[in-house]
Structure formats: C-alpha cells, structure tokens
C-alpha cells in the first residue's frame, strides 16, 4: 500500500522537522511547507491525505489557508495553534478544520489525532455512515443500535454493559445535557440518591476509552454544575 502523505505547515522549521520525524516514525510520508502560499502550492500539485496547519504564519495565515483549501478539497485539516482559548478553537473548527491542537503539544497525542483523522477519511468516508438509520452518530463517534457497539473514527471501542447503556442514552440526543440522577435512573433503573460520584466515575472511564486526550475531551463533556453530554458535531 502506498504511504499516506501528510503535509506539515508551520513557519517554525524546527517544529515542522520534529513533526515530520514523528510522522515518518509512524510510517507516513511527510511534506513540508513554511507558509500558507507554499502549502496551497503543494496541495495543488501533489496528492495529500492530511494537513497539519499552523495558524500564525507569514504571507497567508492558517485560517485563510483553511478556507482556501475547503473551497475545493475535503482533506482532513488539523489546526495547530498557540492560542488555547475556547473561542479560538470554535473559530478554527467553524472555518472547516477537523481538529484543533494547541501548542505546546504532545507528540503522541498529535500522532493519535493524525491516525484517527486519516482512518476516518480513508477507510470509512463520511457519506455512507449518515445514510444508515440504525446508527447514532456525532462526528467520529458512531453507535450501532443493532449490535450495540461504538466506533470512534471507524475503530471499535470495547465498553462494559453499563458504559454502553450510558453512551446509548447520551447518543440518542447529542447536545442535550443529562443530570447524573437521570442517567442513573435510566441506566441502572433504580432510584437515584447521591449518585454523582458513581456516574462521574463511569463517564471518566468512557472518556478514557473514546477520547484521544481525556483531559480535553472532544465528544463526552462534563457540563460543570449541570450534568453530562455528548457534543453534537
């Protein structure tokens, strides 16, 4: 099988090099660009399966570059930025990026994200998932109502029975916030009393299984002071 090509774009050459080394270690082919224009140039001439893009760059910044790429291509884009505010993340994702990693990043985490994005883009493809009615889906999360299995970016996740029921409950209405009591009553089917801790422990375990970085969850989120939810993506 041909090696998958990943384009790394950052005005800091050392960072590009480091990422490239990591990518090669993982078995990908790495292409390098140092500003937005170079990146656009490479994309138009070569076949690229994924782009890691810095935001603050000379000539053409990351967000503008994302917009340009999205005009014609559906390649997964991971944005790399020193800006760690929620608003920056929301902005990046709304521009058409698929993931957002803040600097300084952990190489392992970045590689995991690369892997999951590529898996989703190459082996599955978004199109045929949404059309099946017995699937609950949010972003890369996919719950099969028939087999009661959960896949993250196409990869099967092993869950316990209770965890499966919690995920099924939350996946039924992505974006809705469930208080701990409701989750307990519907999953355990017993009256809830002082259950916050129990529910939280399960949520944390699910998060460790489905999230790449459980400390900064992408899908399963705690709404502090209110409850829990699966993000609607």
């Amino acid at each position: 099988m041909e090696k998958q090509r990943v384009l790394v774009v950052d005005d800091d050459r050392e960072i590009v090099n480091a990422i490239a080394i990591n990518l090669r270690n993982e078995g990908y082919e790495a292409l390098k660009a140092y500003d937005g224009l170079q990146a656009l140039d490479i994309i138009s001439t070569q076949k690229v399966q994924l782009i890691i893009l810095d935001v603050m760059m000379p000539k053409l910044d990351g967000l503008s570059t994302t917009l340009k790429i999205r005009e014609e291509k559906n390649i997964p884009i991971i944005i790399l930025s020193a800006k760690s505010e929620d608003t920056d993340k929301v902005l990046g994702l709304s521009m058409g990026a698929d993931d957002y990693v803040t600097k300084p990043f952990n190489s392992m985490e970045l590689m995991a994200r690369v892997k999951s994005q590529l898996r989703r883009y190459l082996s599955l493809g978004d199109v045929n998932i949404g059309s099946r009615s017995n699937l609950l889906q949010s972003g890369g999360l996919c719950f099969d109502l028939e087999s009661h299995t959960l896949t993250v970016d196409g990869e099967l996740v092993k869950l316990t029975a209770t965890e499966t029921r919690i995920v099924e409950l939350l996946m039924h209405s992505p974006g809705r916030i469930f208080p701990a009591e409701e989750i307990y009553e519907r999953v355990w089917e017993a009256p809830a009393y002082g259950v916050e801790n129990t529910v939280m422990v399960h949520i944390r375990r699910i998060r460790e299984k489905i999230e790449i970085n459980p400390k900064e969850p992408k899908y399963l989120k705690v709404v502090w002071g209110i409850g829990y939810k699966i993000e609607k993506i």
Binding site: V201, W224, G225, I226
Partner: protein, 673 residues
C-alpha cells in the same frame, strides 16, 4: 492713550468722524436755532445767512448809534461826551449821514449839508442825498424808520426792531424835553471802507458775509469727512471698541457726573448773552458745549452697546464689594465670614444711629427733606441686611451642594463637575474639589492603562514563549524515543522532559491569570448547581485524592444550590483549591469541604491543616508568585490561588482566605440565583 495708538489708522479715521459729526451737528444746531429765531427777537443767529441790512446786528448797531445821538439831543451830556460821540460817528465816514438838532439848547451836530429846521413839525420827511435810502428820523414826536421811501412798521414782532426801540418809546417823559429836537441817521446803501477810521458797519458786514462762506465750507468739509468715515467704517468701529474699553474702566457714577457737568456748562454758556458785536462768536461758543453734550451721549451709548451689562454693573458699589472680597481673601474662610457678620452689625448700628438722628432733627425742625434722608438711610440699612441674608442663603445652598458632590465622589463619580459662581464663598473649595477629581481621574486612567499594558505584555510574552517551548518539548520527546543511549543521558532527558512540562503548565497558568485580571475573558454565565459542581469536581479528582492518602470530609446538601456563574471557570477554581489542599496538607489529616446557605448567599468553604508553618499573611499568599513554602521546591506555578481568586471574582463571587495557626481556610461566597 499712548502715542503709538494716536498715530494708528483707526485713530485718524475716528478723529475724522469726530470732526465730521461735530461740524455737522454744530451746523445743524445753528440752522435749527436760526429757523426757530424767525421772529427776529433773538440774538441774531440768522445774521450770517441774511442780507446785512435785514440782520439783527445791523438794526441793533443803527439803534445804538441813534440812541447815542438821541441822548445828545436830550442835552444831558457834557462837552466830553459830545466830542467822543462825534468821534464815534465820524469813524463811520461816508457810511452814515447824521444830524442832531435841539433848538432849545442850540445843539447842532451834523455831517450833512442843509438844515432840518425847516422840517420841524411839518410832518415831512427829510430829503437825503443819492445813495442813502435807509434812514431813521425823529421829528420831535415820533420815530420813523424809512427804507427806500417807505416807513417800516417797527412795532411788528418779526421786524427785528422791537428789542432795539428807542428809550423814547419806553420813557415817554423824555418826549417833552425833545419837542424841539430832530435826529436823523441815514446809512449808505453800499457800505464802503472808511480810509480815515474804522467803520463798524463795514466790518460787521464783511464779518457776517465771511461767516456765511465759512458755514458753507464747513458743511462741505463735514460731509466729505463723513463720507470718508463711512468708507472706513471698520477702522472707526475698531477705535469705537477701544474707546468703549477705556470708558468701560470708569464707574457708572463718574460717567453720569461728567455728563451732567458738561451739560450744565453747556446750558450755562449758551444762556450767556454777549454784546451785539460778538454775536457771531457767541453763536459758536454756545454750540460747542452742545456738541460736547452730544459726544458724552454718544460715548455712553457706545459703552452700553459694546460693554453691555458691564455698563451698569461697573459702579462704585460693586467696586467696593469686589475690593471687600479681595480684602476677605487675606483671611481664612472662618475669619472672613465672622468679619462679614461683625462688619454688618457695625454698619447697621451706625446707619440706625444716623437715621434716628436725622429723624429727630426732622421732627424738631419739621423739615421734609431731612425726613426723607432719614428714611433713605433706614432703607439702605434694610437693603444691606437683605443682601447679607441672600448671600448667606446662597452660601448655605452651595455648602449643601458641596457636600452632595463629595458624597458623589465617594461613590466613584469622577466625571460630574461642581459648578459654582466665581464670586461664591465656596468657589475656592469647589475649584479644589474639581482639581482633586481631575487628579483622581487621571490617576485611575493611568493605572488602568498601565494595568492593561502589563496584561498585554504577559499575554504576548506567554504566547511567544509557547513557540520555542513547542520545539523543546517535541525534540525532548524525540530524544526520549532514542534507544542505545547511555543511562545517564536518559536520566538527563527525563529531567528535561519533566521541567519542560512544568514550564508549559506555568506559562498556561500565567496566561490564564493575566486574561482573568484583564477582564477580557469570555464568560458563559448560566444557572448552575454549586453543590453538583463541587461533587463533580470531587468525583473528577478521585484518583489524586486517593493517592494523597488524605480524608475528605464533605458536607454538601443534596438539594440544588443554584447560583449564576460560569461552570467551566468555577471548575478551575475548585480544581485549584482541592489540589492546593492535597498538596499542602499534613499527611493523614482531614480536608473539610462545606457548602451552606447563609440567607440568600451560598457559602462554600475548604479547610485543611497545613504541613508547614504558614509564616505569611492572607494578602501575601494571594500575591502572584508567592507560594506557601518560600523555598519553591514543589511542583506548580504558585499561581493556583491567584487564579482561583481571579476566576471567582469574575464569576461574580467573593473570595476570602483565613489563616489560623495551621488551619488554612478558603471561603467562597456567591449570591443565590
């Protein structure tokens, strides 16, 4: 006026204007008087505009000569008189023909040929040589004035003779003595110069005709000057303003007094009556004060027009008050106020005394004007009291406003200014208060600006720090993956990895804190359950809690404790507080977390026993980069508590730390929603 100004153009133009108006006004006045003088009884105002023979001067001069001759005929004069009279008449030379005859005394004085005796009592008029059509003739009973053969009606008001009539008409007793006398005085038609003496007739005719010409020339000159002034209006106005500014210095009373003085002099001079020969001169002398009066009036109007209200307010009373205020300024506020009160009492006492004195005098002498003076003094006293009370009332009102304003400043209003009248008693205080306000405003603005800049700097720096740190972490990571490295190198790399991770956390904390204190953090305020939030946080941190070996004693109600806040930020607060407690608690001790309701407020506390001596104050520990243990050996940025405090505050809560021996307590207080 300094010389420089005198030479300037506005001054020249204004002088032209002055001359033009003076001349024209003078001429106008003369013309008006002449017009009103139509009955001829006046003082010969019209003379310069008339034929000499029709002028009052001519008639009066003739009457004077005739009078003189008449008294000669009466025979009451001695030989000296006779000689001087004859000399006076001969001065006229050819211009007169005269004859005085008194057959009783045998006096004959004449310069004509022939005799008048034949005409005595005949009722016939004498026949005079060619060129003498005008003559006066007294035939012993009656006076005739003949002009060109016809008698003139000398009794008419407008004939010009009434005032100059002979004493015979006034004193009929003389007539008996003059029954046999004849007096004749004829005046030459064309007056000529007398080479052997001074002909008064001739000279007066010349003078009056010259006066006519002079008036004409003056009129033209005046009109020309006026036209010039009209063309140079702006210059004239400029000097007008200067004049007004000069006259503005004068008190109103001075202006009025000066004007009255000028008018009095004007009236006095114009009512003075000079001799017949000086009439022409007299005319101008009378006009001069009139014109001066006009200029006084003009200056007053100008002053009023340009200076406006100041025309009235710049008077001696106000000047006195101003002087008194200046005098007051030398003393402290308290002393000035006291002085004012004492001064009022003293003046009132004097005025009361005076008014009583005048009253007694008025009653004793039954004198109305003195009574009026007494009342006026009493009125002045009352007015003074009224002014004082009004001032006192104003000052009290101002004091009230001053206090309100201080209250306003206390409450943080730095923009509203206290307006006070410039002559108010509290004016200096109001001004000073405004200055203080401005100063505080500037200081606050400066502080905000510097704080903002500091935050900006921290944000930028932490941002810039992240880029190289990314490289460091990335390459340390790569190094860690290297195999076949000596063991000690592996250890070094581990240290590098550890420290770069710590640096990363430090930068992130610093960044968060600077954001929080710069108030540009994006908040997502919503209704949350604080009890649930604490439980969630505790559940989330279950593992570190277990690892610490500490016991957590939680007293959190099952019912929701609702507050309005930002859940995510509040989670950071509790995460920091709990990990702080875990880090600095005595091994095996207990950490107490309580949530209670205090009225509407939700109060959450976390208490732990420190594992070291807390030799710092509550304030010190909140200062950035101050850590509980001064050695700074443990992990963490030292910003945990600061971040917790900042986040609590921006989320609408109150954050308090209490240190009691080894007990460390943090209290969070939120207003219930």
């Amino acid at each position: 006026m300094d010389t420089k100004l005198k030479k300037s153009k506005p001054f020249k133009v204004w002088i032209c204007f002055f001359l033009a108006v003076s001349i024209l006004a003078g001429l106008l006045a003369i013309a008006l008087i002449a017009l009103l003088d139509s009955d001829g009884v006046g003082r010969g105002w019209k003379d310069p505009f008339l034929d000499y023979r029709d002028s009052v001067s001519f008639k009066q001069r003739t009457a004077d000569y005739f009078d003189m001759m008449f008294f000669l005929a009466l025979g009451s004069s001695d030989s000296n008189d006779l000689e001087s009279s004859k000399n006076a008449l001969d001065e006229e030379g050819q211009n007169i023909k005269y004859c005085v005859v008194n057959r009783d005394s045998g006096l004959i004085l004449k310069n004509i040929k022939g005799d008048l005796s034949s005409l005595s009592n005949s009722g016939k008029m004498p026949v005079l040589p060619e060129g003498y059509k005008y003559f006066w003739y007294f035939d012993g009973h009656k006076l005739w004035v003949i002009d060109d053969g016809k008698p003139v009606d000398i009794q008419r008001m407008d004939s010009g003779y009434r005032d100059n009539l002979l004493p015979t008409e006034r004193y009929p007793a003389y007539l008996a003595k003059l029954a046999h006398s004849q007096v004749l005085l004829a005046v030459k038609d064309d007056l000529v110069q007398n080479p052997y003496g001074h002909s008064s007739y001739y000279q007066e005719q010349q003078l009056l005709s010259a006066m006519g010409w002079i008036y004409g020339c003056l009129l033209i000159f005046g009109l020309l000057l006026l036209a010039y002034t009209i063309i140079r209006r702006p210059d004239k106005r400029e000097f007008d303003r200067k004049l007004a500014s000069w006259s503005g210095w004068m008190w109103l009373e001075v202006k009025i007094l000066l004007s009255l003085l000028v008018l009095t002099v004007s009236v006095g001079v114009s009512s003075d009556y000079f001799g017949a020969f000086d009439r022409a001169l007299n005319l101008q002398l009378a006009i001069c004060p009139l014109v001066l009066g006009l200029w006084c009036f003009y200056l007053m109007l100008l002053d009023l027009h340009i200076n406006g209200k100041k025309f009235f307010t710049h008077n001696s009373i106000n000047a006195l008050l101003t002087w008194y205020r200046q005098y007051e300024k030398k003393y402290s506020w308290h002393q000035a106020m006291l002085k004012r009160a004492y001064g009022l009492v003293a003046i009132e006492a004097i005025l009361a005394l005076l008014s009583v004195l005048f009253l007694i005098t008025a009653i004793e002498e039954a004198n109305a004007p003195v009574l009026l003076v007494a009342f006026m003094i009493a009125g002045a006293g009352l007015y003074l009291i009224y002014r004082y009370l009004k001032r006192y009332d104003d000052t009290l009102g101002d004091l009230g406003r001053l206090m309100d304003h201080i209250e306003l400043i206390k409450n943080g209003d730095m923009d509203t200014r206290l307006e006070a009248a410039a002559d108010a008693d509290i004016y200096p205080a109001a001004q000073n208060l405004n200055f203080i306000q401005e100063g505080m405003n500037a200081a606050v603005a400066e502080k905000v600006k510097s704080e903002h800049m500091k935050v900006e700097l921290i944000t930028n720096v932490s941002h810039d720090l992240k880029t190289p740190l990314t490289s460091i972490i990335s390459y340390v990571d790569l190094l860690q993956k290297e195999e076949d490295l000596p063991e000690h190198v592996g250890d070094y790399i581990k240290i590098l990895a550890h420290k770069s991770e710590r640096l990363k956390n430090l930068i992130q904390d610093l960044f968060d804190l600077s954001k929080a204190s710069s108030d540009n953090l994006n908040l997502n305020m919503e209704q949350i359950d604080l009890a649930r939030l604490i439980k969630q946080t505790l559940a989330d941190m279950e593992e570190p809690v277990k690892a610490s070996g500490l016991t957590l004693r939680c007293n959190i109600p099952d019912d929701p404790v609702c507050i309005r806040s930002d859940g995510k930020k509040l989670y950071r607060v509790w995460e920091n507080l709990i990990s702080n407690a875990l880090k600095y608690s005595l091994t095996g001790s207990r950490v107490f977390i309580d949530l209670t309701l205090d009225g509407k407020d939700a109060v959450a506390t976390i208490k732990n026993t420190a594992n070291y001596e807390m030799n710092f104050t509550e304030e010190e520990i909140l200062q950035r980069f101050v850590r509980g243990d001064e050695a700074r050996t443990t992990e963490g940025s030292g910003l945990g508590l600061s971040i917790a405090q900042s986040f609590t505050q921006i989320c609408g809560g109150k954050f308090a730390i209490k240190i009691d021996g080894d007990l460390f307590k943090v209290e969070l207080r939120f207003t219930g929603a």
